[in-house]
């Protein structure tokens, strides 16, 4: 919690004959983060991949081609495949599969191509139904040119000015006029010019076929349906192959990926003609696993050392270490940047503040329930990965939104309890007055208590920014020293606290028009503290840092979005409800006063309005809550730039030893 997992640097050295065993053991343990060896010396070179590497990767390539041709998708297997079984038969099976699949697949492609060709022909022929000529009448002349196409006007008057030696056929196709014009080649230039100038002319090419269009069309249609039948047949065969072999393909893919990974591992090691060295990191608590694992597999013939000396902070891989409920929030950390080894990992703080901000913004029982159900569905569909984390984050936020919805007394914008809104009493859904909990009279109607909620958001903002500065103070102290921390972060804390104290006294005085309370100890102390802070800041960071002081104000004011987003969402919900009920369902205060039709319109307005508001209600609070973390909170302390811990190994899904 708060800090990444403690890491230990490990160096493993041994003779080359033990390399394969060592690699296998490490791969199985799946705990060592290997540091790639890059600086070659005279004695030590980057290792060469094992001979089997090229064989495995070739098979892997063919297998993946097969997999995409068959459309194999990841799924649960009935049982895991044994590794030994796969190792003995994968080459044979892949070769057979290739024979079975690739010829069929090629045929499928060629049939698809043919179908496409014929269908193109069909659509090219159809317009010529409008003309009384067989298709072979359109070509094969030595002295005559044929022009065919759609045209919008009668061109004969203009044509007859060029020559009277022509023949024209016209007809209709789908309400457009089609024509075929036969003119001696001698008039080619003039006729072409005429057609070029005629804007409504669209040229149509006549397919090089013989016979009457309807007859040809019939033939082509028959051919296409025959081809489609054949296509379906082959597709079925491929589907059957897919059904039979998909488990093998998935398992073999995993097996070959693992073997390729192992065979290529030496590319990351330092090797001499007879020895190898592996340099890497392991979570300190797992060091013993490597120690005992290697002792067992190599009989203690491999040298293993734990280096306690300080390494460069950037070189240490980072494994975030948080309690289970806060785990999904690591996604939000990684999206921004992986922390450095000595930095504070803020996941646990986001775990508290992100859902809180979200809930204060959304704060509606109805929306909360809908979002929670959606998140639950996503969570059960995606058992792992980013979407699963996102769903868990959303679920937590939605549940908290329901709580805040209760506090605000809102259910899809309708009041839950009896309230007085803008001076008029309104009946709530439950029909009772709000309860009093811990001395607070519920509900707190958002639109009626803007002033106090605004104050609350500013208090949240000040505390959140201050928390960021405290963490920043700690980070700078660890990375540099206390003096730097006071200059860089302490100064900001003083400005923030001092500024808040001074403004808290100044604002009421200005609002009521009384003179500035210069002698008030809190005001004077605040101003004094802020000035000391500014002096420290200038001393530490230079004169130019004065320009940054206003950002503190905008950072704190930025938290007013917690109120603003919530108000706009509540406002939209209220407006939708008002329009739907007052205008359509209860016109003039009479139930169904405008008839069923009007009431239905009201229901539609209600549905669409809330749907849009709900979508905005997921996006808006989510993004803005995240933005407050990233822009206002993280900038106070977070640098990031660590490498993620990626252990050498494989998370097996389809195979077992």
């Amino acid at each position: 919690m708060l800090k990444p997992t403690k890491m230990t640097r490990v160096v493993i050295a041994g003779t080359k004959d033990l390399m394969e065993t060592t690699v296998s053991t490490l791969h199985r343990l799946n705990v060592l983060h290997v540091t790639d060896y890059t600086e070659e010396t005279e004695d030590f070179k980057i290792g060469r991949p094992q001979k089997s590497a090229s064989k495995f990767s070739e098979y892997l390539l063919s297998l993946r081609t097969l997999s995409s041709q068959l459309g194999v998708t990841g799924k649960e297997l009935s049982s895991r495949k044994k590794k030994a079984e796969l190792a003995s038969q994968f080459d044979e099976k892949i070769t057979t599969l290739q024979k079975e699949v690739s010829s069929r697949f090629d045929e499928l492609r060629s049939i698809e191509y043919k179908i496409k060709e014929k269908e193109d022909l069909i659509s090219a022929i159809k317009p010529f139904f409008g003309l009384p000529l067989p298709l072979d009448a359109y070509h094969g002349y030595e002295t005559v040119n044929v022009y065919t196409g759609f045209i919008g006007t009668d061109i004969e008057p203009r044509l007859s000015k060029i020559t009277d030696k022509y023949e024209i056929f016209t007809g209709d196709y789908e309400n457009r006029k089609i024509f075929a014009l036969f003119v001696p080649k001698a008039f080619e230039e003039e006729v072409q010019k005429l057609l070029r100038d005629e804007y409504s002319y669209v040229e149509l090419k006549v397919p090089q076929l013989k016979g009457n269009p309807p007859v040809i069309l019939n033939e082509l249609t028959n051919e296409v349906s025959a081809l489609k039948e054949k296509h379906a047949l082959i597709k079925l065969e491929l589907d059957n192959i897919n059904k039979e072999y998909s488990e093998f393909i998935l398992a073999a893919d995993e097996y070959l990926s693992i073997e390729t990974q192992k065979a290529e591992a030496p590319l990351r090691f330092a090797t001499s003609p007879n020895a190898f060295i592996i340099d890497g990191w392991v979570p300190s608590r797992k060091f013993a696993e490597i120690e005992s694992g290697l002792a067992e597999s190599t009989g203690g013939s491999v040298y293993l050392a734990r280096l306690e000396e300080e390494a460069k902070e950037e070189d240490i891989p980072i494994e975030l270490n948080n309690p289970r409920p806060a785990k999904p929030f690591e996604l939000l950390i990684d999206t921004f940047a992986t922390p450095k080894y000595k930095e504070i990992d803020p996941a646990i703080m986001i775990f508290i503040t992100f859902p809180l901000f979200y809930a204060i913004m959304l704060g509606d029982v109805g929306y909360g329930i809908v979002v929670a159900v959606m998140a639950f569905i996503i969570k059960s569909k995606f058992k792992s990965g980013g979407l699963n984390s996102l769903a868990l984050i959303l679920l937590l936020s939605a549940v908290l939104s329901i709580v805040f919805g209760f506090i605000y007394g809102e259910f899809f914008g309708f009041p839950i309890f009896n309230i007085e809104f803008q001076g008029e009493p309104e009946h709530g859904i439950l029909g009772i007055a709000g309860p009093v909990i811990a001395g607070i009279h519920l509900p707190i109607h958002r639109l009626e208590s803007v002033q106090s909620l605004l104050l609350l958001t500013l208090i949240i903002g000040i505390s959140h920014v201050f928390l960021g500065l405290i963490i920043g103070f700690r980070n700078v102290t660890v990375e540099h020293d206390l003096k730097h921390a006071i200059y860089a972060k302490g100064s900001w804390m003083m400005i923030l606290i001092g500024g808040v104290a001074a403004i808290a006294k100044l604002m009421p005085a200005m609002m009521s028009g009384t003179p500035v309370p210069k002698s008030d100890p809190i005001f004077a102390g605040g101003v004094g503290l802020a000035i000391i802070g500014i002096i420290l800041l200038i001393k530490g960071e230079g004169f130019i840092s004065i320009l940054e002081i206003p950002t503190l104000l905008s950072n704190v004011l930025s938290y007013s979005r917690i109120l603003a987003i919530g108000l706009s969402s509540a406002g939209i919900a209220l407006a939708v409800n008002k329009i739907a009920t007052k205008l359509f369902i209860f016109p003039n205060g009479e139930y169904l006063g405008g008839g069923i039709g009007l009431a239905l319109v009201g229901v539609i307005v209600l549905f669409i309005g809330h749907l849009i508001n709900l979508l905005l209600g997921i996006l808006g609070p989510g993004l803005h809550s995240l933005r407050l973390q990233y822009v206002e909170f993280f900038t106070k302390f977070y640098e990031g730039g660590g490498k993620k811990y990626t252990p050498f190994g494989y998370n097996k899904k389809y195979t077992e030893e």
């Binding site: 002033q451 605004l454 004011l557 007013s560 109120l563 603003a564 995240l626």
Partner: protein, 76 residues
């Protein structure tokens, strides 16, 4: 602060201007970022999250406008 009824309309107009102009400003800021974010996403879909986040950063301005409007309407 007690407001003369004849000035109440001016407050509403002021609130409207605050939200409207702030919205236009935020929009102008977002258009450039949004275009760049879509460009980045065309290269690599993983930029979706970051792009979306970058795009909402100028939205602060709109929210400041909204807050000013709220203060005008509810506090005065």
């Amino acid at each position: 602060m007690v407001v003369d009824p004849s000035q109440a309309g001016m407050i509403a107009v002021g609130a409207g201007i605050a939200v409207g102009l702030a919205g236009i400003g935020a929009g102008m800021g977002e258009q450039a970022i949004g275009a760049a974010a879509v460009g980045a996403m065309a290269e690599d879909e993983k930029f979706f999250g970051k792009g979306l986040l970058m795009t909402v950063i100028p939205e602060s301005i709109a929210i400041f406008g909204l807050v000013v409007a709220l203060i005008l309407l509810f506090v005065f």
